[in-house]
Amino acid sequence: MGHSIPTIWESMQAKGYDRREFLRFCSFAAMMAGIETAGFSKVVHALETQARPPVVWLHFQECTCCSESFIRSSHPLVADVLLDSISLDYSETLQAAAGHQAEKSLHDTMQKFAGKYILLVEGSIPTHDGGVYCTIGGRTAEDILQEAAKDAAAVIAWGSCASHGCVQSAKPNPTGATPVHKLISKPVINVPGCPPIADVMTGVITHLLVLGSAPELDGLGRPKEFYSRRVHDTCYRRPYYDAGLFVESFDDEKARKGYCLYKMGCRGPVTYNACSVTKWNGATSYPIQSGHGCIGCSEAGFWDNGPLYQHLASFPGFGIESTADNVGALVGIAALGGMAVHAVSTNVRKHELLVQGKHSEPKAKE
């Protein structure tokens, strides 16, 4: 065939990395994949001998925040190696090629490495009106996805768009935005988040590269390593929650003291993500640490669960800030009013019964 793929070690050498940098990369990769020190030599061996898998990164209906997050990985070497050396054979945002060249590159990769390349998808796919809302090179997003997914060794859905549909699929979803896993029959690794955490992204892809298999996934196709716990479970403000100490307003004394943001609509208790463990931007901070509640960006349909600063969603049909509690209390009051009217009517009836009882003989029916 003449298309022998170099190993990661070979391609790193070609790019000018030395042995020491390669070993540092190996140790990061081992750590990301959750391999303990004893297994380190195996990782080095694998990266020295196994062919590097080609990677195709497709962009559909999205804002590129996933890519932006990815290139801000807190382990620059890892991101560097992944981008430089593991190489993206096709990525609209990061590739140098454009137009026909770019399309040819995609086409060549899919042909040459059928069954071997890793497909990364960023963005949702429009399905309404024949998919006209997102076309690249004259073809619809779905068409491109189906072709690319057919021979992919593994498919990763980056971010909430590709995993859930995100903002494009928020009601009323005019373009019929659909997540990847609903369109293709292959198993998909969902890495939700708007965007996902850079270290989670590199962790997932490194796992694939080093071990050659998908990380352990939960029922929704998310890697368990990063999505099995709620933001709330590992939040450093959790003790305030258990103690019942809550921020009541963003400018109160309790906010200054760093109490729990539960009553400010924090979605931490209903959001599965690793934010409070890995944090963001090189473990600098995460939303709650910066005094703002979690908005639940890695959960399906989070745009429709508003308002974001309210614990309960607004109740449909009763105005923006009405909660189930307002409606419930209203119905409760109406029921009490009905009872009061009924009680008056009952007394009138009882009076009639007493009068009847005095004047007429009891007559038995049936």
């Binding site: 029922g219 103690a243 019942g244 539960y262 669960n305 509690d325 419930g328 009882g357």
Partner: protein, 236 residues
């Protein structure tokens, strides 16, 4: 579902016979359930809308919200198993406890419902039917409330499953993605709390209403199990 003509007896003394309607398991279920519902609604409401209390103490010195949640979870388990006991008793209990009281699959039950609507709800008639156990309308409402119990148990366990490794709640973990995530499940669980509040209001009112207008010990029947029924045996 024995129905008797309702006859007001203000002046003439009437003979009543005592009928053992609610057996001990039914009464026990009722009061355990009542207690659970009250505790679950109070703690549940607090969990959804915690009080704004200002403390001078630090977080490590107290645990009140954790305790409220703990009470909610423990009570939920009691509620659930108590509910299962009542379902079982629907198959082995007496005629008033039987499951068939709750499902209107006979034409007579629908006729009775219309009757109850006329007499007890709209009060367009002064006198009407009296049933010894549940009337058909009450039976249907209880059936719907059993469905609400089921829904609340399922959503409750689904929410709890993410904080527990215990086998029982883990059994319901699949419900969360089905309903669109923890947020949606929590929202529905919260909305259904209101059903329990409305039910309690109306239920307590109607018990007093029936006792008030029929005068045969509806209220105390859930304590001792007996109801009074006008005794027509001597008249025949």
């Amino acid at each position: 579902m024995a129905t008797k003509a309702f006859v007001a007896q203000a002046s003439q003394p009437e003979k009543f016979r005592r009928v053992y309607v609610w057996e001990f398991p039914v009464r026990l279920y009722h009061w355990v359930n009542a207690l659970c519902v009250v505790v679950l609604c109070v703690t549940g409401y607090l969990i959804g809308r915690p009080l704004a209390i200002t403390y001078s103490s630090e977080a490590y010195q107290q645990y009140w919200f954790g305790t409220v949640r703990f009470l909610h979870f423990v009570t939920a388990f009691v509620f659930f198993f108590n509910f299962l006991v009542r379902l079982y008793w629907g198959f082995v209990g007496n005629q008033y406890a039987k499951w068939s009281n709750f499902i209107p699959n006979h034409r007579a039950q629908w006729r009775e419902m219309i009757e109850v609507m006329k007499v007890d709800v709209l009060q367009t008639r002064v006198q009407g039917l009296i049933t010894l156990g549940h009337n058909a309308l009450a039976g249907l409402i209880y059936f719907l409330s059993f469905l609400a119990f089921l829904f609340q148990s399922l959503t409750g366990f689904a929410l709890y499953s993410s904080m527990s490794q215990a086998r029982l709640p883990r059994l319901f973990a699949w419900i969360t993605p089905l309903m669109g995530g923890d947020f949606a499940v929590r929202q529905w669980h919260h909305i259904f709390m209101w059903f329990f509040i409305w039910f309690t209001l109306v239920h307590v009112y109607l018990v007093f209403y029936h006792d008030y207008i029929e005068g045969r010990g509806t209220t105390s029947s859930m304590v001792g199990g007996w109801k009074f029924d006008s005794d027509k045996r001597d008249e025949k």
